[in-house]
């Protein structure tokens, strides 16, 4: 049986075999594009009226008054109070650790003065209004609410508007509880492209925001891509991935379960191990086959492991680091002796889990760092979600009279060279003029 593929870096076809495992069809469906374009147009033109129509159509909610789309704060507080004690404590530990980590990401305004008494700097401000999309149904995770809301609030975002569909009126009370803990400001029971449209363009009831974050299905993803520019967006997330570099001395069932913890997300999720020890690879495969049948999400696991998983024999741990950089994984576990020494060779990864005790699941919930991470090799150019995604910068340029003379000469020469005479004259006026 082949629950999971086996590759060897010495195989002459290794690169193409690996590429074919990494690939997935990310092309956007034409029919999704057309549907979303129509929904966005309707929301832009008809506001609440269109929003109610689409919510009736897709979520089967027959609401006649748009203000009923909002879930009042009393309901979230009630949801939070009803969370069982053990879970409530776990949520609060998680909140406090996520907060501690993200507070270190907060940027501050800075400036300096040069020898002509010009003051130059950068002012940091929060985004005014942020929309947070939270999927409904099976992919609705309270931990995701916390991972998005906490950095936004640390950045100082005054208005954080959450949207989440409630198909057939089904509300996820843990998600509401997490929203209350995360200090979300308002929640609307809307979803899909219509919710993205409402946030991007505003309706009579839903506040227009400046940026939209949070994961969603293909309709939501395309709608976000489409409204980008009108508002800011976070990343467009692909399937989740884990890459484990192991020296062969971690218990094989730990590694098997770590591979599962990614593969159980969905059928496109990707779990790969790199190891120089063939005996250990065999042992991990054995554990996979043994443990698989006990897992509640067996069907998903089976599909994602067999379609997109791999156990890869490498020459050594340095080659493993090279392959990791090529893959640029969302999650990288370095499950080796002296794992810290290998970190220096890693250039591209969303999150690096260092050492045998650092299982990815700890990072997903409560280690502190964000679990919203770049997928599909985008760690080559992007970063985990953070406070920096909710702050922005303005350059500060305060030129002294003396500075305007010195800099004016330089600017005037360069502007003239570029054929921009008004730029040159504007600089020249300050050199010639005297208003004191």
């Amino acid at each position: 049986m082949t629950t999971i593929k086996r590759l060897d870096s010495l195989d002459p076809n290794f690169n193409s075999s690996l590429s074919s495992i990494l690939e997935f069809d990310s092309s956007e469906d034409k029919s999704i594009e057309e549907t979303v374009n129509l929904i966005l147009k309707d929301i832009k033109n008809d506001g609440d009226k269109a929003l109610l129509n689409y919510t009736k159509k897709f979520d089967r909610l027959d609401i006649n008054s748009p203000d009923k789309l909002e879930i009042p704060k009393e309901e979230w507080v009630k949801a939070l109070n009803n969370v069982p004690k053990k879970q409530r404590e776990a949520l609060e530990i998680s909140v406090s650790r996520i907060r501690e980590y993200h507070e270190k990401q907060r940027a501050s305004t800075w400036s300096y003065e040069d020898s002509d008494n010009n003051i130059l700097g950068q002012k940091i401000t929060p985004i005014d209004k942020v929309g947070l999309y939270v999927p409904g149904g099976k992919a609705s995770y309270p931990s995701s609410v916390l991972m998005n809301a906490i950095p936004a609030k640390i950045a100082g975002v005054p208005e954080l508007i959450m949207v989440s569909p409630t198909p057939d009126g089904h509300v996820n009370s843990m998600v509401l509880a997490a929203a209350a803990l995360g200090n979300v400001d308002r929640i609307f029971a809307i979803g899909g492209a219509q919710a993205i449209g409402a946030l991007a363009y505003g309706t009579e009831t839903v506040t227009q925001v400046d940026k939209i974050v949070g994961p969603g299905n293909a309709y939501v993803a395309y709608a976000k891509r489409k409204v980008f520019g009108t508002v800011g967006i976070d990343m467009i997330a692909g399937p989740s991935e884990i890459l484990i570099i192991c020296d062969g001395n971690t218990p094989a069932e730990w590694i098997a379960m770590d591979l599962f913890s990614q593969a159980e997300h969905d059928e496109l999720a990707q779990s790969i191990m790199l190891c120089p020890d063939l005996d250990f690879i065999n042992e991990v495969e054995y554990q996979i086959n043994k443990l698989l049948y006990k897992m509640p999400r067996f069907d998903i696991l089976k599909k994602s492991l067999s379609n997109r998983g791999a156990l890869i024999k490498v020459r050594d741990l340095y080659e493993a680091c090279d392959i990791a950089n090529m893959i640029a994984p969302e999650h990288l576990e370095i499950s080796t002796e002296n794992a810290n020494e290998l970190v220096q060779f890693i250039r591209h990864a969303g999150a690096i889990f260092i050492g045998r005790f650092s299982s990815e699941s700890l990072g997903d919930y409560c280690a502190g760092p964000n679990h919203v991470l770049p997928t599909s090799r985008t760690a080559r150019f992007s970063s985990p979600l953070g406070v920096y995604d909710f702050q922005k910068r303005s350059s500060l340029i305060n030129i002294s009279e003396k500075g305007s003379i010195n800099l004016g000469k330089t600017a005037s020469i360069l502007a003239t060279g570029e054929g921009l005479q008004a730029h040159a004259s504007s600089a020249q006026y300050r050199i010639d003029g005297n208003i004191s």
Copy 2:
């Protein structure tokens, strides 16, 4: 005559009048989309062959060997050596000031240890390969090369690949000189959507990059939007804008020329002044009409000022700040007494020029901060180009044995709540297991 519109914030229709001035048609042309989609597909499938074909078609360059698309470094060094002394000095002052400012933006890796000896942090790495698009023809500016190349190199980008079309073989030697000063690594004489495709997908000759930055025409902008995800991109720039808040005590011809310095860029550029002093507004209008006819770029100025410019009478300077926040301008000049005090009221602007001597043109060339700034109200959620655009972050999570027990409990409870059993088991294994 109406060279520039006049508005008054007390006018009952003020908001809609202002909105109509701010609006511009940003919709993408269907025919541009189709052309670009075809070009990208061809480049992806046929690499150099398609690249040569399109370069022949659009730039009329009949090159038979793809390696001739590269402009060898000797040519840039020659171009730099041929720059007249005065301009060379101006370029070097500019380089040194841009460098001084941007070095303060460089982020560093950090970490901290918690009470369970878990180490958490964030590792900073540069992007490996960056593509820099530089337009050909009239919008080809050496200053833009510096503003993009310098932060990339300060971030530590090892491979910075510049592309710039050379229609009919015309090479802009100042652009080559700036590339030499900015430590660009390679230059290819290619442009348009075909250059974006070559950078995003790689060809036999052109290196595949991880991120593409730099301005371009509508074809380039759409191509960048299209390849976003495969590679990172900077922003999609709209028309340039200046907003000036003036108390009425700056020489009117300075303000007029500052408005020109934006309006001369292109016909869609936007120049707006906010002022509480009606006499001064009249004086600025008089200076505009007087100075306009002397300007070499008269035709462009006339169109942009009359279509998109405005002199706006406001109640006071505080109202001016409120309007500025609504407009979220690319460039904001605060040309008032005690301008620094007004800065605290500004939440959204790409760059803030503080005081009467701080003309925008100084910032465009040599003050130090970047001149690549968010346009079209995107300063509500985005920032000037900076070193941070060429660095990325990886979370560091190093959990101790003790930490894995404590965090494991929390993670296990939350994962079970979310129905993710493999996540819970993966955490639980570390609690139960003992490998020492």
